[in-house]
């Protein structure tokens, strides 16, 4: 037998042994990879690492390889490249975006909702947390690992200085801006570089008027931005700009710059999620500022159909499971994760997407108040528009929105442009 034959026979033997060994079991553990798009030092990754280490102790050979890309555009680039090359890892982060829906339709994602039903674990999750991860047909293909609420944060001292009360309706806000300017404050700080924070403003009135129905129709081109919910929202953002609510030059201010205006006491209001509570209570900041930080939930508007306890409450980017690499090892680890994650995550003073006992000992008053709000959270939670629109319409809307808010285009021009873009691009993602 020459060398080449020996190699061929050896290869056949290895293949035969592998075939006789049968499919992998949870006991035959191995390395699995999770593609994260979360802060490296954040509570989700810290908790997942803790759980994975615990799992590895009882499952020799198991290792969770974490590949982290916190910057979202870079992460999406990586995800799309891997998907195009059919190289997705066992677990990966994604929102319920049109791109994720395409991955689902191509059979790359496991029906996590069906698995939760099979394991009897659906009730272990807060309905709002699972609801946020749903596609339009109600199916769940991502597991939530966090729970956040978006509030209008304000600096009580700034409002007092201007003789104002926190806004009761969204329409109150444009009227508050001049008094706040006169008192020496930036009325409402916003990040104009990243697109999504400004876009949140556009989503608020339509959510109050229709829940998520309007955006579900708009993204398919079945509704127009010129319809009442859209037109009122567009006009409201335009009014915010015309009333000098945003900081001058906001379109060049990134997330940190916008946030710093609020945490340094220069800005009076800031619309943002509860993930910033840690920043607002940072001991390194001026206590004169942090002690005055307070919040209201999403103000109401005339004709609202959603309740005051209903607002945008994202359960963050979800974790998807690659259907092509799903095996007993992945299944066993997922069940272990769902069992071990909630209490450990809550112990870090975080809002758990799974039903668990809140840990408030040693937590800040802001966190305690937010926990109370979480318990009151209604059934309908708003979805951010950037997770709903097709990517091209999303990008264009964010770009044009800056021009609308700076008054460089009129509401009618904005509506006309975006309607045309959605009409052109939506069919590529949602069909004719």
């Amino acid at each position: 037998m020459n060398g080449r034959s020996r190699v061929a026979v050896g290869g056949l033997m290895v293949a035969a042994l592998a075939a006789f060994a049968g499919p992998a079991t949870a006991q035959d553990s191995r390395e699995i990879t999770w593609l994260f798009s979360r802060p490296t030092d954040g509570p989700v990754i810290a908790t997942v690492t803790e759980v994975a280490d615990l799992y590895a102790q009882s499952h020799p050979g198991f290792r969770l390889r974490q590949v982290t890309t916190p910057d979202r555009p870079s992460y999406l680039q990586r995800l799309e490249t891997l998907a195009a090359g059919n190289q997705l890892p066992e677990l990966f982060d994604t929102d319920a975006t049109p791109f994720a829906e395409k991955l689902r339709n191509a059979g790359h994602m496991l029906d996590v909702g069906a698995k939760l039903d099979e394991w009897g674990l659906r009730d272990a999750f807060r309905p709002a947390a699972l609801g946020y991860q749903m596609f339009d047909d109600g199916s769940v293909y991502m597991l939530p690992l966090e729970m956040q609420m978006e509030y209008l944060w304000f600096n009580r001292a700034a409002l007092d200085a201007a003789g104002l009360q926190p806004p009761a309706t969204l329409e109150d806000i444009p009227a508050m801006c001049q008094p706040l300017r006169d008192a020496g404050f930036v009325p409402l700080t916003v990040d104009g570089v990243d697109g999504w924070p400004l876009m949140r403003n556009l989503a608020l009135i339509p959510f109050r008027l229709t829940g998520n129905d309007y955006i579900k129709s708009l993204k398919r081109g079945d509704a127009s931005l010129g319809d009442e919910p859209g037109r009122r929202a567009v006009q409201w953002v335009y009014d915010l700009g015309q009333n000098g609510c945003f900081q001058a030059g906001f379109s060049a201010d990134d997330y940190v710059a916008a946030r710093n205006l609020f945490t340094s006491g220069q800005a009076a209001m800031y619309y943002m999620g509860t993930w910033e509570i840690g920043t607002f209570t940072d001991a390194a900041l001026d206590p004169a500022v942090t002690s005055n930080i307070d919040f209201v939930t999403l103000p109401m508007t005339a004709g609202a159909t959603t309740e005051p306890t209903e607002y945008i409450a994202p359960s963050g980017i979800g974790m998807a499971v690659n259907a092509n690499t799903y095996d007993p090892v992945v299944e066993d680890f997922l069940q272990f994760l769902i069992a071990e994650y909630p209490d450990r995550y809550a112990a870090r003073h975080q809002f758990s997407p799974l039903v668990s006992e809140a840990v408030t000992d040693g937590a800040s008053p802001l966190f305690v108040r937010a926990i109370e709000e979480l318990d009151r959270l209604g059934d309908t939670v708003g979805v951010p528009w950037d997770t709903q629109l097709d990517p091209t319409s999303n990008t264009r809307m964010q770009q044009e929105l800056v021009l609308l808010a700076t008054g460089e285009i009129t509401p009618d021009q904005f509506i006309e442009t975006i309607d045309a873009v959605i009409a052109e691009e939506a069919p590529r993602f949602f069909g004719e």
């Binding site: 999406l76 104009g192 001058a248 030059g249 379109s251 060049a252 205006l261 990008t395 691009e425």
Partner: protein, 297 residues
């Protein structure tokens, strides 16, 4: 026999570089060319669309404005990196004390990271709180001119172009300065004795001698500018609106945000063609200039 062995030696030594070039440059371009003939979202099957992606460019207003923006960006960069750099290199010749310090100061931005430069200029241009430009305007009584330089469509494109032009200006200044040092001093002296002005010395002696280096600088600066991406992307992400969107940033967004790989590839092919045309134009202009001088001489 000796010729044959020399040819073989040349082939052997050139082959690795040529193969690497074919694999790393030519093949991706050809792949992009092929992909540009399809519609593909990276997940489903590729759909043959022939030249539709190229036809789409003509009716895409964002593509057209990105193209215009890229040309403005190129013009501003060439002004700094070729014109101002040449001026500085000439001035350096007459500096006797602190020349090395000045060279280092101008060269320094070349080695500073892009992110740091973007952050620096974000602060320099800021309006709230005021950056150094607006503070300076305020200090000299021109406070009314203070604006958010990156935040308004009128000024944003120029504002994002300047950091890129400034960043590599020192590099090209050093290259041009090295070329100017090689100009024979006796020729200049003779011209001056004959009564030639400094402009005549520059235009008739120095510039014709350094023309090949200047052409290289011009080609490098033009192609780098046409491929410019990082500073505009970091500073404004193409905004406000699409006022600082360049072909490169638009291509990136089409590929990795819109997952429209076919159209993005068509834009990539367009950028390659644009670079080839730019280099061709520079060579033609330089040849004509040389022929013109020959005729005059």
């Amino acid at each position: 026999m000796r010729t044959l062995s020399t040819r073989r030696a040349v082939t052997v030594f050139l082959a690795p570089a040529v193969i690497l070039y074919l694999l790393a440059v030519v093949m991706p371009i050809l792949q992009s060319l092929w992909l540009s003939l399809f519609e593909w979202d990276g997940i489903g099957p590729m759909k043959w669309t022939s030249l539709d992606n190229y036809a789409r460019m003509a009716r895409d207003p964002v593509f057209m404005s990105s193209f215009r923006n890229s040309l403005v960006y190129l013009g501003i960069n060439l002004f700094f990196q070729v014109v101002v750099a040449l001026l500085l290199a000439n001035l350096l010749l007459s500096v006797t004390r602190g020349r090395e310090l000045i060279k280092t100061m101008f060269f320094l931005p070349t080695i500073v990271s892009t992110v740091a430069i973007a952050f620096l200029f974000q602060r320099i241009y800021a309006l709230e709180p005021m950056g150094i430009i607006n503070l300076a305007l305020d200090a000299v009584g021109l406070g009314d001119l203070a604006t958010a330089w990156l935040g308004t469509t009128r000024t944003a494109l120029v504002a994002v172009s300047i950091p890129e032009g400034w960043r590599f200006m020192g590099l090209y200044m050093v290259i041009l300065y090295a070329a100017l040092l090689a100009v024979p001093k006796d020729l200049e002296e003779a011209a001056r004795i004959d009564g030639a002005s400094e402009w005549k010395v520059f235009s008739r002696i120095r510039f014709p001698i350094i023309r090949p280096v200047w052409a290289t600088v011009m080609i490098m600066a033009a192609t780098y500018s046409l491929r410019g991406f990082d500073i505009p992307y970091l500073l404004t992400n193409g905004g406000p609106g699409t006022s600082t969107e360049l072909l490169t940033t638009y291509m990136y967004k089409k590929a990795f945000r819109s997952v429209d790989f076919g159209y993005a590839s068509a834009i990539a092919v367009f950028i390659v063609i644009e670079c080839i045309i730019a280099v061709g134009l520079i060579i033609v202009i330089l040849r004509r200039g040389r022929q013109g001088e020959g005729a005059l001489g």
